[in-house]
Symmetry: C2
């Protein structure tokens, strides 16, 4: 069975790390006799500069038939975020109802956590971020623009179906892991949406009596991620809280450069999208030094989503192995390798 | 000149740490010939259990004539947050237009930061949190309660005067310190209120050409607090972002137990309120082991606000000194001291 992948390298180091992920996919799919075919799309800030749009008007329609989307990074100096992100990344997340943003966090051997006590292996959790509603709603605006009495409002929107499905995903996932869910809230300060979140999450939790659960205010939870990251298994959080916690957690694990993410439509009605957490990094773009691990790990998540668990596990084993030696780690991890040498090492390990 | 202090010990360890702060204030005001008088109010969850309200209906009126308010902690198991916090803490912040929540962060010698690289002295910054508007607005509600199509909305509200005054406070403060302001945003995802925040902060920044400034998305900023906390001087943030960053920063500094806060009305129309960042800690309440430093440091901020800078500096010097020895640190800091022994040491140092 052939599975079709839409590849959007995007901007900056997005191109380099997507190339890297493709090499690794090539090696592992040969080994496992998996039939993936790829189409590449040049949708990016560069395209915006030339054509006035990040992606064509029929982009969503064109992506729809694919089994998955592999994305590098989008964004470039001079192109405002509301163009680059809201013209590509966020419309894809929403049009394909990728309501789960899954972000695994691990402290690997060879990667130095900024935390004294974070032993390799001891930190291993997943942030499940709600990805299509919540604080990122477009509802809002400004009044009295430019005047001293100007103000802006923005509405966070939490729906029962939206919170139920993300909570259910988190509890199901926890059932396959450490059977422990931590829900991020701030119901003591944000008194309409987050008490509702708590209530719906508690309702879902009742259906999973074998999963331990607790609820932490986002301020205390952020502190605990630093004081005791080893305690977590699955963290479920709203769009904004999940964004903050997953970046923070990636820092705790030692590097944003290795952090992957999956934007999932668990109903499989639409293609899911896989992308590293890092951005396009204009400062190092084109130098061949970008850390490809975030993109490669994202590709492993894609393989898993496409039903190739053994291949995904092989990629993860190769990542673990290559992170151990300085010459197969990039400079951001204190190594001496570059993008190409890390790729060679991964490909060799998968050979 | 006599200055009058309203003392609200509140709940749990709030009582113990307020007692501690009072002892230290006693010692330092004698030394500096400062005339403070205190009235204590038993407003608390205990009062709620007995009288059905956290504080009397005329509480705000009664507090108004004071020069400052010293608060311990509020909250107790069984009393919901919307009663304990929204029945005491938040109404005081709002009625007295304490629009600045100031939270200094320092890594002290003797306090072990969870970060490998956080050297004592190298981390010293202040989080300036907007304290009366933003994401904590009460505007919002639910529709279709209990039905499958239920949803909740909550409106964040940012006003030009509100953002201007908090930004101005931050830039003025930075002028007396390291001349560097970092503004927390998320304008790439939250597209109405935070672009407005950015615009107003940039306008204020233009009036302070001698202060360096940058703007960071909250996700990246949380990561940087862990990866490079030494780079910050003053961080200015909305109500929610400031809450998250200041708790996270307190963890980075090694303990929530030492973190202080000042809820300020810089116009001095109303009394300002000083409280440790920690809560009422029911698990250790009454055991005499609570870390009093958060409350004592808050008292030092109060002295400064009341015009007694030399006395405040003396208290800070005593805190620094006592944190160095294990027997004058509490157990949460790896010491062998308890609340009373830390107080004795502070009082002796101020003698
Ligand atoms: C208790 C809660 C509402 C409060 C807040 O977030 O304002 C607390 O976390 C704080 O930081 O003072
Ligand atoms: C770029 C931004 C809008 C985006 C988000 O917050 O969703 C990014 O930070 C991410 O986490 O994918």
């Amino acid at each position: 069975m052939t599975q079709r992948i839409a590849v959007i390298p995007g901007d900056g180091i997005g191109l380099e790390v997507t190339w890297a992920a493709r090499q690794v996919l090539e090696a592992v799919t040969i080994k496992h006799k998996i039939d993936l075919v790829y189409d590449e799309f040049d949708w990016s800030c560069q395209r915006y500069a030339a054509a006035g749009e990040m992606m064509p008007a029929d982009a969503i329609e064109r992506l729809r038939p694919y089994d998955a989307i592999l994305l590098g990074a989008v964004g470039w100096p001079g192109v405002p975020d509301h163009v680059s992100l809201w013209g590509l990344l966020i419309p894809i997340r929403r049009a394909f109802r990728q309501y789960v943003n899954l972000r695994p966090i691990r402290v690997f051997e060879g990667v130095r956590s900024p935390l004294r006590d974070a032993e390799p292996g001891a930190v291993d959790f997943v942030v499940i971020r709600e990805n299509v509603e919540g604080e990122y709603s477009e509802i809002g605006g400004r009044l009295n623009r430019g005047f001293p009495d100007e103000f802006a409002v923005q509405e966070a929107v939490f729906t029962r179906p939206g919170v139920t499905r993300i909570a259910r995903f988190a509890f199901e996932l926890a059932g396959t892991r450490g059977s422990y869910v931590t829900s991020a809230t701030k119901s003591n300060g944000i008194v309409h949406t987050l008490p509702f979140w708590d209530e719906v999450v508690a309702g879902v939790a009742a259906d999973f009596p074998e999963v331990r659960t607790d609820s932490e205010h986002i301020d205390a939870l952020a502190a605990k991620l630093v004081l005791d990251p080893g305690r977590f298994d699955v963290i479920v959080a709203s769009n904004l809280f999940g964004d903050i916690l997953s970046d923070l957690a990636a820092a705790v694990a030692g590097s944003i450069g290795i952090a992957p993410s999956a934007n999932l439509d668990p109903t499989r009605t639409y293609p899911s999208m896989f992308e590293p957490v890092h951005g396009s990094a204009p400062d190092i773009a084109g130098h061949g030094v970008a850390n490809p691990i975030g993109a490669v790990w994202s590709a492993a998540l894609m393989l898993e989503h496409l039903g190739h668990a053994a291949a995904a596990a092989d990629v993860m084993a190769a990542i673990e192995e290559s992170l151990m030696a300085p010459d197969t780690r990039t400079r951001d991890l204190g190594g001496t390798g570059d993008t190409a040498s890390v790729v060679s090492s991964l490909v060799a390990l998968l050979g």
